[in-house]
Amino acid sequence: MIGKPLRRVEDLPLLLGTGRFAADISLPGQAHLRVVRSPVPHGMLRGVDGRKALSMPGVIGVWSAADLDLGPIGFRMVAFPGMLPYRQPVLAAERVRYVGEPVAIVLADDPYRAEDAADLVELDIESLPPVLDQLQEPAQFDDQNDTEALLHEDGYGDVGAAFAAAPHVVELTVTVGRHTGVPLECRGALADYRPGAGTLDFYGAAKVPHQNRLLLAGLLGLPPQLVVLREAHVGGGFGVRGEVYPEDVLVCWASRLLGRPVKWIEDRNEHLLAANHSRDQVHRIRAAVLADGYITAIDDEFWLDQGAYVRTHAAAVPTLTASMLPGPYQIPAYRVRGHVRLTNKTPAGTYRAPGRYEGTFARERLIDAVASSLGKPAMEIRLSNFISPDQMPYARPMSALGTDLEYDSGDYALLVGKAQARFGLAELEHGLAARRALGEAVGMGCAFFVEKSGLGPYEAVRISVDQSGHIDIITGAGSMGQGFETVITQICAQELGVRPETIRVLHGQTDQIEHAMGAFASRLTVMAGSATLIAAQALREKALAAAARMLEASPRDLELSDGAVRVAGDPDTGISLAQISEALRPDQAARWGLEPSLTADGWHTTDHMCYPYGLHIAVVRVDAGTGQVIAERLLVAYDVGRAVNPMLVEGQIVGGAAQGLGGALLEEFRYDDAGHPQCTTFMDYLLPTRAEMPPVDVLITEDAPSPRNPLGVKGAGEGGTTAMGAAIAAAIDAALGVPLGVKELPVHPEAALRLAKAARRESTSEPGGA
């Protein structure tokens, strides 16, 4: 079962149209909430006038910050106390800081009427000049603080000495634009506060329901156990969906105020203004390099455009950027300084491969720069700097997401060799060279990366078997469409020797299980998967012990397969899990001298992450007339330790690659000089479609299982994205024959055309050139 491309067990309701997404859930008597948002990037909020809106039919009320008694939204991840002043208020009180910031709410009996009325709420805002560039010197944020929310400094080794002694120093400045995860399903929430009972049910949770329960209960002053978060079907997460945002708090607050259910469904326009943006980093990076290409030190300074506030992810992105930047290379000395700067844009958070997409772009561009300055192939530079398998586990004296940064296992050169052989890279390059000779601008680019996955500290799973032999696996972790249920089913089915059809995975309901961390950081197969294995092992022991009593045999002589326990070598003795479950009914169990209920819990805990790694290869063609970059092929080699379901791993990689390509060529949130967002619809925020996405060849290897979990697995959620920007950039350089031409993502066709023209000028001015 483990290792097989089992079809997704969660698909049937989706295929039948019986899926239930946030917008599909309704409760009798629900009111509809519409958020009134700031139309200006920065200003003093002098007044909110809801009188006209209140006179509209069906309108229940209009509320603004003055009516609320709620603190700002807290942090969920790596936080520093210095970041506290930058938390986002639920509604803007004195100042508005970005276009789209919630300023007031309108409740009505119908979503159309709510939107009509929201249009009539009058805001009196005195505009202030916006801050729009993270490279600008910090400006004033409020009376006490400037706009640099964090200067994160980290590193190890003697960087100064390494640079002083280095025969070569290579330096460059690179930029990754502002883009983010754009799930097809926008956000949505339905809160149901029951006066009297004092309970609050929240539908539309995703990703981290248990953590969000704590945040929401804390904000509302309710005991966490009276707040129940319920995850429905989720149409994509990507890091963006499922955090606590102002709207989530507002539906809860309004439901408690009105004593009736309150629903809010986000539209796309709102989503592009209100949900977390991401990326948007400028790196100035340098390497100290020996004559043979060995890099003795990296020194990086980066500036992250955090947008208007620091949201739930706090310092997760900058710290991950910093700690993961050295990637697969030894780098004996490293220094990093990351400036988290606030601007008047939508706040930023994590997005698939947070910090790694940016850091990998900076580092792999640096590797390409080192190669070109030494006149060596980039892959040779990579190979001579890789951490070698005999150095594993490799501790970099830093921390990542609060854990010691210690790579668990890996053989990077082996993966490069396998990719070269499987994809026929030498022949591929040969073919491209032939096309270039005929005048086509085609090229191939590579980038190597290390991912992190399986963040702890814990995940829990409960397995129970009912009297029909049906198995429920309960976990608080979330499913956002990635195939979580299938993977958990496979692990359990293998251990218990049962058919996958007898298993159901229940997830993301805070009243079903006390503790959970959630679905992020490519952690679920590692954490919930391992917990499932541990719970299934415990359940198996329990079943064998019971069957031993029932069969009057020794547990050692028994085996569990096909859903039944048998005496080894005696196929006729079968006693099914259903029968065992029946025998363990509370009124029966005592007869056998056993604990009642065929149920077991499993916990997997860890202090360490595990580190998968991969190679991305892009083949692109540049239209030298228009500058359009056409990706012809993408190739991804990825070592996942152990693939529980290779089809799902491949699916994750292909989808991730599309998002990596989007960030490299198309997706960008642009603002005009006055701070107004320019990309608030799908006409202007360009996602790659099927037509822009070339075929992706995927090579999955299992050469470096993780020693840190019983399955040996590593995460697969982000490795399709991580190095795509760097690989596409290198491919464009190769196509145009301009080393280090691409320093900025996304590569607009206009920029590629500029490079192409520069290359033409170069080649025609070359003495003796054709």
Binding site: R268, T626, C679, L686
Partner: protein
Amino acid sequence: MKPAPFDYIPAASVAEAVAALAELGDGSKVLAGGQSLLPMMNFRLARPDALVDIGGLGELRGVQARERFIEVGALTRHLDLERTGVPGPLGSLLRSAGAQVGHLPIRTRGTFGGSVAHADPASEWCVLAALLDATMTVTSLAGTRTVAAADFFTTIFTTALEPDELLTAVTLPRLDESYRVAVVEFARRAGDFAIVAVMVACSVRNGVIGDARVCLGGVADRPVRSLAAESLLAGQPAGAAAFRAAADAAAAAVSPPADIHGSAGYRRDLVSVLLRRALERMAP
């Protein structure tokens, strides 16, 4: 992204439609395929008080072939034209322009007349109408009048149509067998509105260009004929030298707008590249 309140009036005939428009006045809008109007209403960029839905008027859908021209009914879908059997160079032009309008679902609902009335300066049908000096037939309670393409497109999203007028058909001249035509455009993704669109129709006899028509979309507030290019092509041998000269002249003569999808300079570069490609690729 929900429209502001509006009244909805389905029209059963052209007469009913124009009567409704006359009665409702300024605040009303014709609803055809809805592929431009409804998104604008959802974004509340358009807030009509009433929609007069002409979607059910079968008599406005389809192409009438006459000897010297064809008449395209306002409700003819983009897809109808992408698959049209109109013979000769005009048919080629309609098919290749039609294929480049948006995505398939948009082409199945969006209409020729809706595009022309909407007057996006990068719209294929607007560029084609200007290229061929089309004539628009317009009806209101006051009667029927015709408007030449050159007078029809006044500025971005604005035409000579009065609020009470319905565009019923567009007349396009047939192109004789000497014509070579091409549609070349550039968009960042398949199916997006062109950043720059170029259409050409040149009569070529014995290797020499006679009537030369070049129209550009996306470079001004309406589709524009490139008189500079046309005059450099007419009378010249159809070949690289004339094509390059025309392309460069067309680029030099435009002063395109800038937006997040491209600067003015980039659009100018595109005019030159795309026009050259169009001229090189033009075919019967």
